[in-house]
């Protein structure tokens, strides 16, 4: 158990006296050392007036230019030197101070803020030159996004400049989407993918002839369902007899090829008649099905199937 010490004050004073004697020693040593230092001896500096005798003559004038050119100390370049990743921490502190400084500015919703392509993780690591972990990178991006949400017309110049330094070169969001159109010969060329298949369709106005890899549709697809789905874009808009399609399709199986053709024809038809978009969207022929076969994993029989459990 603790004993309350009634003479705590006295003890403290004693401790102070003890410690003050120890602390005072290096100070005096330093003062004594001040009179003759290695540096002053070598470089011919006069001993300072502080530590000389009372009768000493006045010191000569200081050569300021020489003094300021003489090295004195080796110090870390950044105050976060000892953290091991000083450049990253300096960036974070700078961004946090900006965020605190401009916290009261009005903001817009995250969706209305201008799209910015920040450094990707690997690029950011290269930029900072330090092995920053993912978690810390994400926290920095969070601050960047908050600063980016400031009302676009009121963003202070320094915030703008700082945010710009974190953008990856070549703004990918500046590229405007170009609407592709029918070429000079009246052909609309479009690609479609489904599963492993890739279909390229050239669609021209005509009488409803379809060639798939040089074969007729019936030869290319045995199943009626596949034939139906391949031309679903034309059928659902009642344009089966208004266009000719010349199709090349590679890879995958029959279903994949048929549905790749669906997508390609849907896109090509959009080039001819952009007004059909809502109809085609509703018919489900311009929605991309991005599903692919899931890879098999080690320890599994298939992608997810586990081997049967055997007791021994």
């Amino acid at each position: 158990m603790a004993r309350p010490t009634p003479n705590g004050l006295a003890q403290a004073f004693q401790a102070l006296r003890l410690h003050s004697s120890t602390t005072s020693r290096p100070v005096t040593r330093c003062l004594a050392r001040q009179t003759r230092t290695y540096a002053t001896e070598v470089e011919g500096q006069q001993p300072s007036a502080l530590a000389t005798e009372e009768q000493a003559p006045a010191a000569p004038e200081i050569d300021f230019s020489n003094f300021s050119r003489r090295p004195a100390r080796i110090v870390p370049a950044s105050p976060s030197y000892f953290s091991g990743s000083p450049r990253f921490i300096d960036h974070v502190l700078k961004l946090e101070s900006l965020q605190a400084k401009y916290a009261s500015l009005p903001t817009v919703a995250a969706g209305d803020a201008p799209r910015m392509a920040w450094f990707k993780f690997a690029q950011f690591r290269d930029y900072v030159g330090e092995p920053v972990p993912m978690k810390k990178y994400k926290s920095l991006v969070k601050i960047l996004q908050r600063l980016n949400r400031i009302q676009p017309e009121m963003v202070p110049r320094e915030v703008k400049r700082t945010l710009k330094s974190f953008l990856r070169p070549g703004n990918p969001y500046a590229v405007q989407y170009v609407q592709r159109t029918v070429d000079e010969n009246g052909r609309a060329r479009a690609k479609g993918k489904r599963k492993e298949s890739i279909a390229v369709v050239q669609l021209v106005e005509g009488e409803g002839e379809v060639l798939v890899n040089g074969k007729s549709l019936v030869e290319a697809f045995q199943r009626v369902h596949d034939r139906e789905s391949a031309l679903w874009a034309l059928r659902s808009t009642q344009r089966l007899d208004k266009y000719n399609a010349w199709i090349t399709v590679r890879g995958g199986g029959v279903t994949g090829q048929a549905e790749a053709i669906t997508l390609a024809i849907g896109r090509a038809l959009l080039m001819h008649e952009p007004a059909l978009k809502p109809v085609l969207r509703k018919a489900g022929v311009i929605s991309v099905d991005a599903r692919r076969v899931e890879r098999k994993k080690p320890g599994h029989v298939k992608a997810r199937k586990m081997p049967t459990w055997v007791k021994r």
Binding site: G8, I62, P76
Partner: protein, 352 residues
């Protein structure tokens, strides 16, 4: 089933279908549901332009049309106008005050320390008996740290920081607990020192070349201006070690203190009643669990460092240094062998 009985059974429910659910307003309100005469008859509403409410509505409608910047300016103007209204509170505690404008070591008072809660120790069962001389007593099973001792030790630590700063020492502020970041960074900024608010990487001092080797250093003159011509000589130099380490939570930074001990680096630490005071060179007996207390102590030490740096720069302006500056010759020598690099002018000079 007998039809008569059916009627008897179901008719009540049929009747209830059209009836309103009884609302017991008596229980919902304290006022009597008696209708009273309107005491203030509604005035004839004046012309819409003179109605203040109407004006406000108009103004808000206009402001909706304003651009965001103008809208913001309007808001700021209004805020500025209304900020001066109301009563002025003379003495109030602002948590930001300690962080933004920490007191100087000469301003330390026991009241200030008490208000920051630095006197609260740990439960008596967790004490370290080496702290007995810092302990004032027990209250409700908790040790109370003697504040006059705290103040004395804090002043001593501030003096140490000031003298180290005045001699151009590298001061490292370490506070790795959650919430200590701002205090640590601000104190380091004041004292022109260095800060750690995340984990101390073990080996930063004992294996510095590996861990801090890639971190930049620079050569400065006595006026703290960088001398870029010596940049070449900094390659292959051992990493910089601090000359004084201030730890706000020594219990969590055992490795840091151990490395400081191995490298003969003096340390200042906030020692709670459960900590070992011999782990640090200059203990400050105080509560290390209160953020207000730790940021107060960090701020005071930061201010002490600020005073020391000011003194050092004043001396440097007069062309004097309080410490042994590194010479150009020392910089040119090989840091490992202490010999001049082969083929240089220095080597020829030594041979001759």
């Amino acid at each position: 089933m007998i039809v008569r009985k059916l009627c008897m059974r179901q008719s009540r429910q049929l009747l209830a279908l059209n009836r309103r659910a009884p609302a017991y307003s008596r229980f919902l309100s304290t006022e009597t549901p008696v209708e009273t005469a309107v005491q203030t008859p509604a005035k004839e509403s004046p012309a819409p332009a003179e109605n203040p409410l109407h004006q406000v509505v108009q103004a808000s409608r206009e402001s909706r049309k304003l651009k965001p910047r103008q809208q913001w300016n309007e808001l700021e103007k209004r805020r500025h106008k209304f900020n001066t209204l109301g009563s002025a509170v003379q003495e109030s505690y602002d948590p930001e005050d300690i962080l933004r404008n920490p007191p100087k070591p000469s301003d330390i008072t026991l009241e200030m320390l008490l208000a920051a809660g630095t006197h609260m120790g740990h439960s008596t069962s967790r004490w370290n008996p080496q702290n007995s001389r810092y302990i004032f007593g027990i209250r409700e099973g908790v040790h109370i740290i003697s504040l006059d001792v705290t103040a004395a030790y804090l002043r001593r630590a501030a003096k140490v920081v000031e003298e180290v700063a005045a001699r151009g020492g590298i001061i490292l502020f370490a506070g790795t607990r959650k919430g200590q970041k701002r205090a640590v960074v601000h104190a380091a900024e004041l004292a022109k020192g260095y800060h750690i608010f995340e984990r101390w990487i073990p080996g930063s001092m004992t294996n510095g070349q590996q861990i801090l080797g890639h971190c930049e250093t620079k050569v400065v003159n006595a006026l703290d201006e960088e001398l870029p011509e010596f940049k070449v000589d900094l390659a292959d130099r051992p990493s910089v070690k601090p000359d004084l380490v201030i730890v706000l939570n020594p219990l969590e930074n055992v490795v840091l203190l151990h490395e400081c001990g191995l490298n003969n680096v003096p340390t200042i630490g906030i020692i709670d009643t459960d900590a070992d005071p011999t782990r640090v060179t200059y203990p400050i007996p105080a509560n290390d669990d209160t953020l207000r207390g730790t940021s107060l102590i960090a701020g005071i030490l930061g201010r002490a460092g600020e005073a020391g740096q000011k003194r050092r720069l004043e001396m440097a302006a007069e062309g004097k240094t309080d410490y042994e500056p590194i010479t150009a010759r020392q910089l040119r020598l090989d840091p490992l062998t202490g010999l001049p690099p082969p083929g240089s002018e220095l080597e020829k000079g030594q041979q001759a």
